[in-house]
């Protein structure tokens, strides 16, 4: 019985940072912009949080800094997508590459030979959970209310479905998109910050390892709502938690490389089997031409 408990705990620990990223991706995608840059934004958040936490010796300042920096990157992304109508997918991939390179270079340049470990950490709230875990749990209903019960949430969703209608009603599609992108970036940054400063307590170059993309898949798999996204993220976290136990099963029944593949295979299967009819927002990825 305790092993089931451990598995649940493990799943939660591994899933929570990705939940933030997925919620962020959800907002941007609902606004009709493909959040392909989630991987890059996540690692930027991770690095910023560590760098600021180390220099100020305050983990919450690091957290806030990550939110700010990544939020700005989100706006930058939105700006290029909306104003210049750049191919969002390629832009996202380029952003990921850029962020990976910049964070590695800065990490090496600023911290050089020693990868410093944080001496500060998030407060423990019992049950092996840290404060940001609670923030994460709370974010799900908050996000739900925001998206479906507030005016701004409605506007963001409308921009993703039918931007022309929004503009016709006199609102600025661009402005709403930028707000959505900032919120999105902020959440992704939170995810990255929690990922690095939460349990690893250090920045490791390239540490996100594809999780930004998995978050993106989770949004589609979760049918574009916060609760579904959370469940999807849990599934992938579960995949990662299980693969350790598969390996530990002794006698290496499954070669360990196959166990390591599990989260990625799950993502492909989830996308294929369960995302038949695209519930993407109608205007997702289509640059809006303002008349």
């Amino acid at each position: 019985m305790s092993s089931v408990f451990n598995l649940i705990g493990s799943t939660l620990r591994l899933s929570m940072p990705i939940l933030f990223v997925a919620l962020g991706a959800l907002v941007m995608q609902l606004a009709g912009i493909v959040c392909m840059g989630s991987e890059g934004m996540m690692i930027t958040g991770a690095f910023t949080a560590v760098a600021v936490s180390l220099s100020t010796n305050n983990i919450w300042l690091g957290f806030l800094a990550a939110i700010l920096v990544t939020g700005l990157i989100g706006i930058f992304f939105g700006f290029l997508s909306v104003k210049y109508r750049v191919n969002q997918v390629v832009l996202g991939v380029a952003l990921n590459l850029l962020c990976a390179g910049v964070t590695t270079t800065l990490n090496r340049g600023l911290f050089g030979s020693t990868a410093p470990m944080l001496t500060v950490s998030f407060p423990d709230v019992g049950l092996g959970l840290l404060a940001p875990d609670i923030i994460g749990f709370v974010s799900i209903p908050v996000m739900w209310v925001f998206l479906y019960k507030t005016l701004l949430g409605l506007r963001i969703r409308s921009v993703g479905e039918n931007p022309l209608a929004v503009q016709t009603s006199g609102l600025s599609v661009a402005k709403i998109s930028y707000i959505a992108c900032f919120i999105s970036g902020a959440f992704v940054g939170m995810g990255g910050a929690f990922f690095s400063t939460g349990r690893s307590r250090a920045f490791i170059e390239g540490m996100t390892g594809g999780r930004g993309y998995i978050a993106l898949a989770a949004v589609a798999f979760g049918k574009y709502n916060p609760v579904g996204t959370f469940l999807a993220v849990l599934l992938f976290g579960f995949g990662e938690a299980v693969q350790y136990r598969l390996q530990a099963g002794g006698d290496n029944v499954i070669p360990h490389q196959f166990a390591l593949m599990l989260p990625y295979v799950l993502t492909v299967v989830a996308l294929s089997v369960f995302v038949r009819k695209s519930k993407d927002p109608a205007a997702l990825g289509k640059p809006f031409k303002s008349e």
Partner: protein, 399 residues
């Protein structure tokens, strides 16, 4: 569209075209400037592009010839700082280069990983301090560039080149043929190629054997867990030796292992250890350097005994009983020393307890207090026998 609106459109178009032209002009000016600076820097850059003090000299020459003098002088000062961060004992390096031998090292990972790569890095730092050699290094080498790295250093006059890991062996052998006056040291392998490729191995099977035996004496559940990093020869040898050591003590003991594929990610280390503990392992060993500290964390939380491998781990938790330290630093340093003395000739060396490269840390922590005298004696006996070479781990390897 009436005429005034049309005029406005035309005016706007003109403005935009003018802006575009000025932007393009700016771009062209920038282009010309950069080319000029690049050309001057290439001519100014000397051929000695190592991380030692010569780097500062080359930068100052380039700085004197560029237009952005201010930026360059800060860069020059900064480059010296960079050179300083790279070669830890800078003052020593700048002051007395006792030897004019140049030693280069290539690492597969980061020099700050608190383990495998860091130990080798410290070896060249030690060589710099005590032998007075000039050093340079390259981190996170990737397979597609191995040969080039070695050729690069050989061409620049480095006569001792350390390749940290057996994955470099092929590339080293190919390059070594073209540079017979350069001695290559390849770690984690006993393969060698006369006259100038020297394999050396610290720990490996012997280290794993010691860890396995110690863990076997401590286990009650007869299940041992090993947390591994990326797959490599030395990692495989560690595991092989571990299983042999456990079998030496008791053939019925089961050894489970989890590959985390990382030397740095502590979260993975912790999850792997947790999984092993859940399966009933009551002694955990980790071989993946910094990531292994996560495994120790898991042991702390669950009160599980930890027999540490590779590096001294007692500060990471009080459930760590002891560490079987692979002093790669000492082993590699000894190889470099031999190279400086001209004693390398393309033969392999196997370092173990006997020459001090493997070290037993002694007992500490919670479990040291609760263990029986019998256990202590038996463990000490294994270490002594390995040191005196009375006990040969290879006899117990089954694969």
């Amino acid at each position: 569209m009436d005429s005034t609106e049309r005029e406005n459109v035309l005016i706007r178009r003109d403005k935009i075209i003018k802006e575009e032209i000025s932007m393009r002009l700016k771009k062209i000016v920038a282009l010309v400037c950069t080319f000029a600076m690049a050309a001057m820097s290439v001519s100014g850059c000397g051929s000695s592009a190592s991380n030692g003090t010569t780097a500062a000299a080359a930068v100052t020459t380039a700085a004197a010839t560029t237009k952005a003098a201010a930026a360059a002088t800060t860069a020059a000062a900064a480059a010296t700082t960079a050179a300083a961060t790279k070669a830890a004992a800078t003052t020593a390096a700048a002051a007395a280069a006792k030897s004019d031998v140049k030693v280069a090292a290539v690492f597969p990972g980061a020099i700050n990983d608190q383990g495998w790569n860091q130990l080798a890095y410290e070896a060249i730092v030690k060589a710099q301090k005590e032998l007075g050699v000039q050093t340079a290094y390259s981190e996170k080498a990737e397979a597609s560039e191995y040969e080039q790295l070695f050729r690069g250093y050989a061409q620049q006059g480095y006569t001792i080149i350390v390749a940290h890991g057996d994955q470099f062996y092929d590339a080293v052998c190919t390059v070594a043929k073209d540079y017979p006056n350069v001695q290559f040291i390849v770690t984690s392998t006993l393969q060698s190629q006369a006259p100038n490729v020297n394999g050396c191995f610290v720990g490996g099977v012997e280290g794993g054997f010691a860890e396995g035996a110690i863990a076997a004496y401590m286990t009650k559940s007869k299940k041992l867990g090993v947390v591994l990093g990326p797959e490599s020869t030395s990692m495989n040898d560690d595991l092989k030796g571990y299983k042999a050591g456990a079998a030496y003590v008791d053939k019925s003991i089961e050894v489970d292992s989890v590959y985390t594929d990382t030397y740095e990610d502590t979260v993975k280390g912790k999850e792997a250890a947790m999984a092993l503990i859940e399966k009933g392992c009551d002694v955990i060993t980790q071989e993946n350097d910094f990531a292994g500290t996560g495994a120790i964390e898991a042991c702390q939380e669950k009160g599980i005994c930890n027999v540490a491998g590779v590096m001294e781990s007692k500060d990471y938790g009080n459930t760590v009983l002891c560490s079987v330290i692979e002093d790669n630093t000492l082993g590699i340093y000894m190889m470099i020393q031999r190279g400086v003395e001209g004693k390398l000739n393309g033969t392999p060396t196997n370092f173990g307890f006997a020459d001090g490269a493997l070290q037993f840390s002694g007992f500490y922590g919670k479990f040291a207090e609760t263990m029986t005298e019998d256990q202590k004696t038996k463990i000490k006996a294994v270490v002594d026998d390995l040191t005196s070479k009375k006990l040969n781990p290879q006899d117990y390897v089954t694969e």
